[in-house]
């Protein structure tokens, strides 16, 4: 009966809100899969293959994240380190690079174990500067030593952009897991869970509002499918989600919660549009085919690269004593 005891202990150790939240997401997935299956069965004339692929991919992503969050900070850190690596590999593969910089590219990957090591060691002060200051200085210096000056500055900027978005900003999501359990109502995992939910909810809400009511293009040169209606509808929906559901997971209320509710949806939109501009410049629609129905991992986490640091900093400013 040790196994049952073990499961009970594990269950009791998890915050109730997190378990209910994960349960709710699973219920949504079941619902989505049922809808996809029903559409396929009732309207055989239309092709719902992409919808079904999208749903299967959501299942894989949610189950991976849920397992990591329940397993603790080590597993979550490992998962985000892998996400950083795959995202950075996608970015560096699409970006224009120079033959001479092959080993610099290797150096860029090396920042992933270094940066995440400071998350593992729980040394916030060094994490904060290791990429934005030190990788920022060391890589250009090494590139100068290699000596190819043609296209030097744009290559430096490109590597730095990749490191900041894919490694440093995503790393904040992992660092949230180091929040002491008594500083958040649903523990550290609850903070990360709600960051991911709010960010993805915002993506989906903008898409749905845009599909239903979209008339006026918001930024046609970069994202022709994005509309004011989608942006504003998604903004209001996500702000409502943060305001009403947020208190279950966040140690925030009043002005702090209101600030997060207002700015997080804008950051998600900004991340999406910024990555779209990069993809448009490079001339691709998706960053890879890694996630069937979604594109590459960078297509999926584009909003998160903007929302993760903002969410972290607002929490740190308004509440978390540790940071």
């Amino acid at each position: 009966m040790d196994i049952i005891r073990l499961i009970e202990d594990f269950h009791n150790a998890q915050p109730l809100a997190l378990l209910w939240g994960l349960g709710g997401i699973l219920a949504l997935l079941v619902l989505g899969s049922l809808v996809a299956a029903m559409l396929t069965a009732t309207r055989p004339s239309k092709d719902y293959r992409e919808l079904r692929q999208r749903m299967s991919s959501w299942w894989v992503m949610v189950l991976l994240l849920a397992a990591a969050l329940l397993a603790g900070w080590q597993a979550t850190l490992a998962l985000f380190a892998v996400v950083s690596f795959i995202a950075l590999r996608e970015f560096l593969s699409l970006a224009p690079t120079r033959r001479e910089d092959r080993l610099i590219i290797l150096g860029c990957y090396l920042t992933i174990p270094v940066s995440y090591a400071f998350v593992a060691a729980d040394i916030y002060g060094i994490y904060l500067v290791i990429i934005p200051v030190y990788a920022f200085l060391i890589l250009p210096w090494l590139m100068a030593v290699i000596g190819q000056t043609k296209g030097y500055l744009s290559s430096v900027a490109l590597f730095h952009w990749g490191l900041m978005t894919c490694v440093y900003n995503i790393g904040y999501a992992a660092f949230l897991m180091r929040t002491p359990a008594d500083q958040a109502p649903a523990g550290a995992a609850g903070l990360v869970f709600f960051l991911l939910v709010a960010t993805e909810f915002n993506d989906v809400a903008q898409y749905v509002w845009g599909k239903l009511f979209g008339r006026h293009k918001i930024i046609p040169k970069v994202s022709p499918n994005k509309t004011w209606e989608g942006f504003l509808g998604g903004w209001a929906s996500t702000a409502a989600l943060i305001w009403f559901v947020g208190p279950l997971f966040l140690p925030l209320g009043g002005i702090g919660l209101a600030t997060l509710a207002v700015v997080l949806p804008v950051a998600g939109f900004a991340g999406d549009v910024t990555m779209s501009a990069i993809k448009r410049d490079i001339g691709v629609k998706d960053t890879s085919h890694l996630i069937p129905g979604h594109g590459g991992i960078l297509d999926r986490i584009d909003s998160l690269t903007f929302t993760a640091p903002l969410y972290f900093h607002l929490l740190a400013w308004f509440s978390l004593a540790k940071f």
């Binding site: 590999r89 996608e90 560096l92 593969s93 699409l94 224009p96 690079t97 092959r102 490079i282 001339g283």
Partner: protein
């Protein structure tokens, strides 16, 4: 021995190839799963072979045999052992082509045994500049000998950045692997080679841009 090769391919070669290349495959449904079949790909790097071995499902991978130059891969006993027993190469004696000796005999034997032969019709690795060299016609002679075997064109984009010719340290970067519908043997070598060349170039046109200067 064969199951050791199978385990090594699935547990070592495949994870390494995925880590280094991302193996971004499109057109997977065109991949032949049983022999005799021929897979014809462009060639810029040793990664090409590992990458192609890594994209076959586990039930088919034992059948996959890359054709490789015996003068290069079999001159060193250690590399030769790995090439023969782990990678499973079919040796091609490039230097003896045209001497009257049948350099394609091992490849024909493998096809007759029901293997999937991987050939690089450019003959050698290019310089990663994304250009396709002139194709050698050995693949047409194999197709002529096995007219029912599908010849599947594969364009690999970017392997020359992961591990260019002459470099030792691989750098992880995504490679797109585009697999097209098979080219069939219709009876004439020149037409067959034109068809293969066109198929490869049209796959190349669909590949994401390679910004490498």
């Amino acid at each position: 021995m064969t199951w050791i090769r199978w385990l090594l391919l699935l547990l070592i070669v495949r994870p390494i190839a995925r880590f280094l290349t991302g193996a971004d495959v499109s057109g997977r449904e065109h991949l032949p799963l049983k022999g005799p079949a021929i897979v014809a790909a462009n060639h810029n790097s040793h990664m090409d072979t590992l990458l192609l071995l890594s994209i076959f499902p586990s039930r088919a991978v034992m059948r996959v045999r890359p054709a490789a130059a015996s003068d290069y891969f079999l001159r060193d006993p250690v590399i030769g052992w790995v090439s023969r027993h782990l990678i499973g190469i079919v040796p091609i004696a490039r230097g003896k082509a045209g001497s009257g000796e049948d350099v394609l005999a091992p490849a024909r034997e493998a096809l007759a045994a029901g293997d999937i032969i991987v050939v690089f019709p450019e003959g050698t690795r290019g310089d990663a500049s994304d250009e396709m060299a002139a194709l050698k016609s050995g693949v047409a002679r194999l197709a002529e000998a096995f007219p029912d075997a599908p010849v599947t064109p594969v364009w690999i984009q970017g392997a020359g950045r992961v591990l260019p010719k002459g470099e030792v340290i691989p750098v992880p970067l995504n490679c797109a692997v585009l697999i097209g519908p098979p080219v069939r043997w219709e009876g004439k070598r020149a037409e067959f080679m034109d068809g293969l060349r066109t198929a490869l170039l049209s796959l190349k046109a669909e590949a994401p841009p390679l910004r490498w200067s």
